[in-house]
């Protein structure tokens, strides 16, 4: 499959662009400013994963509606548009709720887009380029490696207990009641593995102060500098606009 232009950027450039997007989105809380950003982020993701976005659309709508409903009681500024018993919504509160909902969706979309285009190792390389210490980058990679292992071990433990008549039932609470026969084997297995993992890391050259070589080889291009710098410029412009009083439905809040 042909790689998307975003995933051809250096991981540090991708990380820089993500940071710029998050800063820009956090700067505004007026839907008139946030909505175009959210739509743009969703459109970019839809180009690569249209079916997944379409599948998630009802959830996104529900999330935004919930935000619009939940936030107004916490915002007193503005003209009251709706009041029932203890619930009152002002025009500012509704706009703020809409902006926060859209912002969260846009951030989620940006984050998912980044993760879809970036392997954990590339993320680690990006963090390394920002001078984060090797233990931080390795820990991140290991977390991604070990999560499926933990999931797989839990699955096996569950099947093993089912083979002895254990019915875990359906739903979180039903399964939580039977947590011991699952947690003990998974936890003890993980404990047994810790020494081995530490040894494997050391024997393969990992040391806390040693930075790994970059691999596979990357051909850096001007875009690796231009795009993050452009992103930083947009984020800076957003901050200036906000300081000048633009893009805020509720100036006192983020």
């Amino acid at each position: 499959m042909k790689r998307a232009p975003f995933s051809q950027l250096h991981p540090a450039a991708r990380l820089g662009l993500l940071l710029a997007a998050l800063v820009t989105l956090t700067t505004f809380n007026d839907p008139a400013f946030v909505a175009p950003l959210a739509v743009a982020a969703a459109a970019v993701l839809a180009c690569r994963a249209g079916r997944a976005v379409a599948k998630a659309l009802p959830l996104i709508v529900v999330f935004v509606v919930l935000s619009v409903v939940m936030w107004p009681p916490f915002v007193k500024a503005g003209t009251t548009r709706f009041a029932v018993a203890f619930y009152a919504a002002t025009d500012v509160g509704l706009r703020y709720g809409l902006a926060v909902g859209l912002r969260a969706v846009a951030m989620l979309v940006a984050g998912l887009g980044f993760l879809a285009a970036t392997t954990p190792e590339e993320f680690g390389e990006g963090l390394g380029a920002f001078r984060l210490p090797p233990p931080a980058t390795v820990t991140f990679t290991l977390a991604f490696r070990l999560l499926p292992v933990m999931f797989e071990n839990t699955q096996r433990a569950m099947e093993a207990q089912k083979a002895r008549g254990m019915d875990f039932g359906r739903g979180f609470f039903a399964q939580a009641r039977h947590v011991l026969p699952l947690v003990v084997p998974v936890f003890l297995y993980s404990l047994r593995s810790v020494d081995q993992l530490a040894t494997a890391l050391e024997l393969r050259g990992y040391a806390a102060r040693r930075r790994p070589a970059s691999w596979p080889p990357r051909r850096t291009s001007a875009w690796d500098w231009v795009l993050p710098l452009a992103g930083a410029a947009v984020a800076a412009a957003a901050l200036i606009l906000r300081i000048l009083g633009f893009g805020a439905a509720l100036p006192a809040r983020i």
């Binding site: 392997t119 954990p120 190792e121 390795v138 990679t141 290991l142 991604f144 490696r145 499926p148 292992v149 797989e152 071990n153 096996r156 433990a157 099947e159 093993a160 207990q161 089912k162 083979a163 002895r164 008549g165 254990m166 019915d167 011991l180 026969p181 003990v184 084997p185 003890l188 297995y189 047994r192 593995s193 020494d195 081995q196 993992l197 530490a198 040894t199 494997a200 890391l201 050391e202 024997l203 393969r204 050259g205 990992y206 040391a207 040693r210 790994p212 070589a213 970059s214 691999w215 596979p216 080889p217």
Partner: protein, 551 residues
């Protein structure tokens, strides 16, 4: 010349233990020499490798005395990172030692942290993946690989480090016969390159290609020398809990029966009774079964199988062929995507959990995925209690199950403190306590020594003799030859054939299609024109030929 490995009067006792794991061990290896360290579980093989990788006493603490050195550098006070780039290790629990998320990144991890240039890393990664038959899986996520593929990946990662000393701790346990053959080729190639290899294993089947064999028993040296001399000594092997090679026993028998030297053709007349074909209508059936995992991996592509009640069936085939998926479908853990699975006329995945546990018992390869109680008795009694049995009935089942696996009177022991072979038997007892009609064993002998394998499979055979249908997955065709009544050969998601053990193990073409070959004894017997598939049969055939005066 600097020695590759020097071990001089080395002893080590793990913290909190009284018995030493290694006791007064002394040997040395020159660069380019290969050594097979063999012995029973707990003999000290893994501890020896851990000592040479500087894991003990710095990471795993304990009392250390004597001297060990690698390429002239004394190991006392060193950590594994001090040996990076010189020593590479493949661990027994290889899955726990994989650190990256993709195949190529796993192999590149060592070279990257050794600070090698990118072009050189690329070269090493490509060569290591090709050596281990993983070139096609280069971009795959590690989490989506099968057990055998992960073990190959662990070997590839060790190769990429381009160390001079390779420590392989049971590096072939999850490999199919072709994978084991490839591993032997890799070891031979390393020796050609002047690398030193120490491989720990429970049995000596692959040790003939090594320069030397070190037999360990209870942490002490039980024997050392050329493979043919050590493994041909049945008494020595018995003391170390290692199977003597049927290859050598065969020629021993030839030597002790002079008339056989003239020819062994008379032995070919030795009769072998074919087992009964089955007992009536199939109790378990799989018809045109297909299954695809969520990651897109198509594991079964129209598998058919019919197993009569009371059968003792082995599922064999190469890594990733679909054996475990088929077994899990038979056990009802998953529903087929297409086709039908029936056990006693019902779809197992649709059965209520408690009922299914009484119909099909499933023993996982790793007992640690199951054990969670504080005592052996509680662990075994867990299942019957879930069925709602009273204390008396639970106790009876628990005693009976422990007796079946040879662990009577050990109910008060802590299962977590037992050796792996005993933990496997506890897990088997806890499944047996459910008194299932069908018992499915998923690679039950992996990582067990000869005595443990015999003990576990004998327990399974005894259950089968009492009427339980037993289905087991294995790569060990010598175990199949000794215990299975019938064999189903699985490859590429289909059952290629299901027939009596003797017919299947004599059909080299069929086995080759599944990446298998007959066990060593069967190959030797076939070459000599003798009808035998196990070492015991081979010996009996020879005795028959000699005694019968047929020559």
């Amino acid at each position: 010349m600097t020695l590759a490995v020097e071990v001089d009067d080395l002893s080590f006792t793990y913290r909190g233990r009284e018995r030493p794991a290694l006791s007064h061990l002394s040997f040395y290896l020159r660069p380019g020499e290969t050594l097979a360290a063999l012995g029973h579980s707990g003999a000290g093989k893994s501890t020896l490798l851990a000592a040479l990788a500087a894991v003990v006493p710095e990471i795993k603490k304990g009392r250390w005395s004597g001297r060990a050195a690698v390429f002239g550098r004394a190991l006392a006070g060193l950590r594994p990172r001090d040996l990076a780039g010189r020593v590479a290790c493949v661990f027994e629990d290889f899955d726990a030692a994989l650190v990256a998320t993709t195949v190529e990144q796993e192999v590149a991890f060592g070279p990257r942290y050794l600070g090698l240039p990118a072009a050189y890393i690329e070269k090493r990664v490509t060569a290591a993946l090709a050596s281990c038959g993983l070139a096609d899986l280069r971009g795959r996520a590690v989490a989506t690989l099968s057990g055998g593929q992960k073990q190959r990946l662990a070997v590839a990662a060790a190769l990429a480090a381009e160390a001079r000393l390779f420590l392989l701790d049971e590096a072939g346990t999850d490999l199919d016969p072709m994978g084991k053959k490839a591993l032997a080729g890799i070891i031979a190639a390393l020796r050609e390159r002047g690398c030193t290899v120490i491989a720990a294993d429970n049995d000596g089947a692959g040790a003939l290609g090594f320069d030397g064999v070190l037999l360990l028993a209870g942490g002490e040296e039980a024997g050392r020398g050329a493979p043919a001399a050590v493994l041909g000594d049945a008494g020595l092997c018995a003391r170390a809990g290692v199977a003597p090679l049927p290859y050598l026993r065969f020629f021993d028998a030839v030597e002790t029966a002079p008339r056989l030297k003239a020819g062994v053709r008379g032995a070919a007349a030795a009769p072998h009774a074919e087992p009964a074909e089955g007992t009536g209508a199939p109790f378990i059936t799989a018809e045109e079964v297909r299954f695809t995992y969520p990651n897109g991996g198509e594991a079964l592509r129209g598998a058919d199988l019919a197993v009569p009640a009371g059968d003792f069936l082995a599922l064999v085939g190469q890594n990733g062929g679909g054996k475990t998926t088929l077994a899990k479908l038979l056990a009802g853990f998953m529903a087929p995507a297409a086709g039908a699975v029936r056990v006693g006329g019902a779809a197992p995945h649709a059965m209520p959990t408690a009922l299914r546990a009484r119909v099909v018992g499933y023993l996982f390869q790793n007992p640690d995925h199951q054990i969670f109680q504080a005592t052996v008795a509680e662990e075994v009694a867990f299942g019957p209690r879930r069925l709602g049995l009273d204390d008396a009935a639970t106790g009876r089942r628990m005693e009976s199950a422990l007796a079946a696996v040879g662990m009577s009177g050990r109910g008060d022991e802590d299962p977590f403190a037992l050796p792996k072979g005993d933990r496997q038997r506890v897990a088997l007892a806890s499944v047996l306590a459910m008194e299932p009609e069908v018992l499915v064993l998923d690679e039950p002998t992996t990582g067990l020594d000869r005595g443990e394998v015999t003990s576990l499979m004998t327990a399974a055979a005894a259950l089968n003799a009492r009427g339980t249908t037993v289905i087991f997955i294995t790569h060990a065709l010598d175990v199949v030859a000794s215990f299975a009544r019938r064999v189903a050969v699985v490859a590429d998601g289909r059952v290629l054939a299901c027939d009596t053990t003797r017919r299947v193990l004599r059909d080299r073409d069929l086995l080759a299609r599944a990446g298998l070959e007959p066990p060593l004894a069967a190959r030797l017997a076939a070459a000599a024109g003798i009808d035998a598939i196990t070492g015991d049969e081979l010996e009996r055939a020879l005795a028959f030929g000699a005694g019968g005066g047929g020559l």
